[in-house]
Symmetry: none
Subunit: 238 residues, 2 copies
Amino acid sequence: MSLHRLLLVEDDADMAAMLAAYLQRQGFHVARAADRAGALAALAGARVDLILMDVSLGDDNGVAICAEIRAAQDVPIIMVSALSADHQRMAGYEVGADDYIAKPFNPDLLLARIRAVLRRAGRAPSLSHRRRDSLLTFGGWRYDARRDEVTAPGGWQVSLSARETALLRVFLANPLIPLTREEIAAALDDDEAADRASAGRAIDMLVGRLRHKTEAGLIRTERGTGYVLTTEVTREPQ
Amino acid sequence: MSLHRLLLVEDDADMAAMLAAYLQRQGFHVARAADRAGALAALAGARVDLILMDVSLGDDNGVAICAEIRAAQDVPIIMVSALSADHQRMAGYEVGADDYIAKPFNPDLLLARIRAVLRRAGRAPSLSHRRRDSLLTFGGWRYDARRDEVTAPGGWQVSLSARETALLRVFLANPLIPLTREEIAAALDDDEAADRASAGRAIDMLVGRLRHKTEAGLIRTERGTGYVLTTEVTREPQ
DNA sequence: GACCTTGCGTTACAGTCTGTTACGCAAACC
DNA sequence: GGTTTGCGTAACAGACTGTAACGCAAGGTC
């Protein structure tokens, strides 16, 4: 595999130089740009495998540039911010960044994330799949597919197990539509085995647990049929 | 699995074009018809897995056409209406439509309903991203991504836990390349927690367990670095 | 309305999975 | 050869998840 080409978009010259040196030592080709114009020029000039972009770029807005690039090309982007404030973090996501890291960061962690994003980008299908529905809202609740985080209307985070999260995803993919236990089982196991699962009452238990953790009328029972998510699901409006 | 074939019956050319483009991008084959005659012709010409029909079609009545098609064939139908009035909705159901959606609709909701109807109709739904590298061989071993089955050279099946399977996938995606624990952790959690995981020795344990179950020199230790899969990985010609 | 049947919610429980800790061996370094 | 560092392994504990059992509630029948 040839070397990966990173484009570093950073207006702080010292930081940019340090990062570039570090990344080159780690085996990457590194191009640098300080502003929007430079970034677009670099993108036009050569193949770029991944962009590392500072959120705050003097006059320019990194988030806006990220969205602009995203709209035109399919280049993975990692946003870098000096602020770890949460709203900034969210802003990075909405725009379609593949990952986010806050300064000051652990160089090894940055490296791990770069490699993870590159690896994910290499297997394109899952990437676009995740980006599409990464932030969903339903009845005041939020689900962040990227981090598998569920947030209650009050802002409290609810921790779900792997299977509960998978179940929630099934419901979110089929809002307002009654689902039979067989359908749920098939969707969960991503394969057959629906017959086996439909025999027992594992789905009932799973729904019960999810319902208990969300403790709202989110999931209603359709007696004799199955279960329904009672709310619409929209992509993050905010 | 071949793509699902949708027939779009819609007399508004702009709406039809937009919907068709969207659905094609989502991985469906889309045929279009603007009226009753066109719809029947399309049905006669090729297999159709699902019909998306506007209720109001100029001179023609979508409800009547729906009933007509229903009487002749067993094709799932989703009715689309510009009116969200409930009696209309009921009319759509009575006529034999499988579902109903009101314009303007959320594209994701439409997609979810299409998938739900297709699933209920007994046609295999599910994601295609697993299919890509479904059969991998490495050093005499085989991994079937579709069934998550691992087969030893002798033909014996080895059962791996979810996490062990995920780890194996990471190695298979990076054959002959030494991976640090941080990289492995990042790839496994598909996100951060690389910092947390790198502290403990969970990865060591995981590798140890996988190594024990495969009990071969498949995974070698790179002292001071991490682990490597020692074999090439090839895609099975099926 | 009284009674019965069926379906579901809930609790208890057990098996499995997975990360942490501790200990000992092996490799590298002096 | 002695010491240090890194890793393999066993033991353990906590979490996750499916099964079984019990009881309540919704519908159905009279």
